[in-house]
């Protein structure tokens, strides 16, 4: 199971981390939890003492026939993916690796998912269990290493996307899947409006689509599955072959589109939302459900437009928006505060990273 390199790169520093948290608790000193720091651009600044997770590394267990891997939070995605590669398995939600420095803990805490998300599921969908250092300085285990587990509240999935505000994730168990047998990418020249209509039509059919984006001039599709289904879909959909590296570049935000100097916004909208008439450049991902936007338009106007279609907007450019995450309705915010107070009563974990109130 574990290769030599994995053992070399394993180090359990949980005890040290727990001590640091207990110290911080006794002095009521906020902590800024940090993995590879690759997502520093996302969210609000945290005024706290850095807590570095990168010494807590290694794959704790991985049995390919169980489709489950457990690793410490500081493990880089690159190392984790390499271990899965060796068994022809993958993290289906395709989290960005950001120059190789993104850690497992940071990826789960921020809940980022790549191009396959609408078809395979999100980061939180693949979380089976976590170990967490709590706001009472205890190192606890929630969920587990089994596919199905409904004992107690689902705190491990709650941790996904909570940006470290509810506790320190020290270990994560994830469901993994075999890689598809065949993968083909296509490029079909057509305007965005038509692409969105086509995606909505194809979405209702059993096609093996696992990636769908529109770069302004063409719809690019990724097809994954068995030989039969992928080749038949290629025949049916036509178009030109497209290099598969597109999906990596999209996931890592390395495409030319992302070089535009204007602020970057991520708009999350319902699947069948038509083109959004907003100033700036757009790049459609997730089969229409995620729209990247480079625009100087005002935060308020943008939020109003996305809210009207049932979506929300997050600013991906550090320091640009007053509140990078979409503001919450008052009632919901109250329960966020109460949950934060319940799990982190002294407010020491990444205070304000997501919202000033939590």
């Amino acid at each position: 199971m574990s290769t030599a390199s994995m053992i070399e790169r394993a180090d359990d520093s949980a005890a040290v981390l727990v001590e640091q948290v207990q110290d911080a608790l006794s002095q009521r000193r906020p902590l800024a939890i940090r993995g590879g720091d690759s997502k520093a651009f996302l969210g609000r600044m945290v005024d706290g003492e850095p807590l570095d997770m990168r010494a807590h590394i290694g794959i704790v267990s991985y049995d390919p026939t169980e489709l489950v891997v457990t690793a410490r939070a500081g493990t880089t995605l690159v190392d984790l993916v390499a271990a899965l590669d060796a068994h022809e398995q993958m993290l289906p939600f395709e989290p960005p690796r950001f120059d190789g420095v993104a850690t497992l803990g940071g990826s789960i805490a921020s809940g980022l998912s790549g191009p396959r998300r609408p078809w395979a599921g999100s980061a939180r969908d693949f979380v089976l269990g976590t170990r967490v250092i709590t706001g009472h300085g205890k190192h606890l285990r929630f969920g587990g290493e089994v596919m199905k587990n409904v004992a107690g509240y689902d705190l491990s999935r709650l941790m996904a996307g909570s940006f470290g505000c509810l506790g320190i994730i020290t270990e994560v168990s994830l469901k993994v899947l075999p890689k598809p047998r065949l993968c083909r990418s296509l490029r079909l020249e057509m305007p965005a409006d038509r692409a969105l209509l086509k995606l909505s039509e194809w979405g209702q059919q059993p096609l093996p689509i696992s990636g769908a984006c529109h770069d302004g001039s063409a719809l690019c599709l990724r097809l994954e599955g068995g030989e039969g289904s992928v080749l038949a879909a290629c025949d049916r959909l036509g178009g030109e072959p497209q290099q598969a590296s597109l999906w990596d570049d999209l996931r890592e935000q390395r495409l030319d589109f992302f070089r535009d100097p204007r602020p970057l916004w991520r708009l999350s909208v319902p699947l069948a939302t038509p083109s959004l008439a907003v100033p700036g450049e757009q790049f459609i991902d997730w089969g229409g459900a995620q729209r990247w936007l480079k625009s100087d338009m005002s935060e308020a106007d943008l939020r109003r437009i996305v809210t009207e279609v049932g979506g929300h907007a997050i600013c991906y450019t550090a320091g640009h928006a007053a509140s990078p995450f979409h503001p919450l309705p008052t009632g919901l915010m109250r329960y966020h505060r109460q949950l934060k107070a319940a799990l982190d009563p002294q407010g020491i974990f990444n205070p304000g990273r997501q919202y000033a109130e939590v």
């Binding site: 089994v146 689902d154 890689k179 919901l332 109460q338």
Partner: protein
């Protein structure tokens, strides 16, 4: 230890005045249907865990959201516990009423509000039956994936509250993976929207937290589920084995071959025979174990995968591998499995269904353990198993009329769950904790973990009036349970005082 609400260890409940409550409810919600005579209350004494019954103080059957909101506000003001209930098919006593509480039945909320094929979602009221969603989506060639065996009866609200699974969850996920949004009312009657019509929403993932929370954090009043395109074809292979070990190893081999079947189920000899007697599915009754492996998707892929799986099964030592010839035979193969519970019900006066999960590699060891317990307690156990995702349903056969047998069955069940925890699994994969497994929670979680659960509960329901006593045991209960239940000289809750 009895699982009925016990104020001594589960916490004191407020004393309710039924007359005052009735008067205020009648005045504030004149058109709300209320049941309060002994005769009318009887059908609501239990859910699917029928060995345990409590008569609720009264039953409310609202039909409109405002009725639910006002009912919750009135109960909150008068400090009256409220137990939500959907269709009452739950197997863990999650909807078991309280003598001093109102049973809030959501079954009348049974309207499908919207089927949206372009957006691939369905928006429904919580009392809509699971199967009704797929039926309503069928004209668009879409369906709702999670398919609990109780799908003709159970409600989607109950599915959300239990995070229900089905035979297809290895490939298509549990309820939590197939939800976009739920509307809830808090214990105070405040409306909240969790999730959204988009694939994600800002803030903490309260949708995930609420899924599987057993009606403890809020009342589900509307559910938006994802719809999927129907697979073009589905084929099913039936493989017979002369030992459960070989069948278990074959499951791992299928996964190792890079195949994720739509469904992968195992049955042992006792369940095979019971199902065959009942359904005549064509099962090989001499086999020690059978596997049902369903492959679904696009025709060409399914064909190739069937060949691959057949090869794997043969290599793993299957004594026979059969591909269902047509839809009729496929439906028959599944009917045997889906009716395994009632089939076992026919060979024994009563049965008790367990729901533990384990890492798949532990299957042979756990089955041996179950066999030993079965001998020790003198009760037969039939094993039905969602093999693909390690979720076991041992069915303990007993006779409730024979003195002491129910207690023995429960003890045996608790032993099996402890074994699941010991091998790295969980006491419940999909049926929930409810009241049934309240003591077993003390085995799976330590006092600090339980304390965190209580804190989460308090963040949404500080007065503890929503479904009290379910899902999370008090530390007192665990201390008492631990005292009776010392493992190898180690107390699970050494820090707590004993009663």
């Amino acid at each position: 230890m009895n699982i009925l609400y016990d104020e001594r260890v589960d916490g004191e409940l407020p004393r309710a005045d039924k007359a005052i409550l009735l008067a205020e409810l009648r005045q504030r919600i004149p058109d709300l249907k209320l049941l309060h005579s002994a005769e009318d209350l009887r059908p609501y004494e239990c859910d699917g865990l029928s060995a345990y019954r409590t008569t609720p103080m009264l039953v409310a059957l609202p039909e409109r959201l405002e009725q639910v909101a006002t009912l919750l506000k009135v109960c909150h003001a008068q400090k009256i516990p409220v137990v939500p209930r959907g269709a009452g098919t739950g197997l863990s006593g999650g909807a078991l009423p309280l003598e001093q509480g109102v049973l809030l039945v959501m079954a009348k909320f049974n309207r499908i509000l919207e089927i949206n094929p372009q957006g691939r979602f369905a928006r429904v009221q919580p009392g809509v039956r699971n199967l009704a969603i797929s039926q309503a989506a069928a004209p668009h060639e879409l369906y709702y994936a999670p398919d609990p065996s109780s799908q003709i009866a159970c409600s989607i609200g109950g599915n959300v509250a239990e995070n229900a699974g089905g035979v297809h969850c290895l490939k298509y996920g549990l309820t939590v993976h197939n939800l976009l949004k739920v509307e809830i009312l808090t214990v105070e009657g405040e409306r909240l929207t969790l999730g959204s019509d988009a694939l994600d929403s800002p803030g903490f993932d309260l949708l995930a937290l609420f899924t599987g929370s057993e009606g403890m954090l809020g009342v589900v009043t509307e559910v938006t589920v994802k719809l999927l395109p129907k697979p073009q074809v589905a084929k099913v292979l039936l493989a017979a084995f002369d030992s459960v070990e070989k069948a278990g190893a074959a499951v791992a081999d299928i996964i190792a071959a890079g195949i994720v079947p739509g469904g992968l189920e195992m049955m042992d000899n006792l369940s095979i025979r019971a199902a065959e007697d009942f359904i005549h599915a064509g099962y090989p009754v001499d086999a020690e174990a059978i596997l049902l492996c369903e492959l679904d998707g696009v025709e060409a892929d399914v064909h190739d995968d069937c060949e691959r799986v057949r090869h794997v099964l043969e290599k793993a030592g299957a004594t026979e591998v059969r591909l269902a010839r047509d839809e009729v035979e496929r439906a028959k193969f599944w009917a045997g499995r889906k009716n395994a519970f009632p089939a076992v019900g026919r060979i024994s006066p009563d049965y008790y269904c367990m729901d533990g999960t384990i890492p798949k590699r532990q299957l042979p060891a756990v089955l041996r353990g179950i066999k030993d317990f079965s001998d020790e307690y003198g009760l037969r156990v039939a094993n039905v198993f969602h093999a693909g995702d390690g979720n076991m349903h041992p069915l303990i056969l007993f006779d409730a009329n024979a003195p002491g047998e129910l207690e023995r069955a429960e003890e045996l069940g608790a032993k099996i769950l402890e074994l699941c925890v010991a091998v790295g699994g969980s006491i419940t994969g999909e049926h929930g904790v409810g009241r049934e497994k309240i003591n077993s929670m003390c085995v799976q979680f330590n006092a600090d973990e339980l304390t965190v659960f209580h804190a989460v509960k308090a963040a949404f329901d500080p007065s503890g009036l929503l479904n009290p006593g379910k899902n999370i045991p008090t530390l007192h209960r665990c201390a008492e349970f631990g005292g009776m239940h010392v493992h190898a000289g180690k107390l699970p809750f050494p820090e707590l005082e004993r009663f």
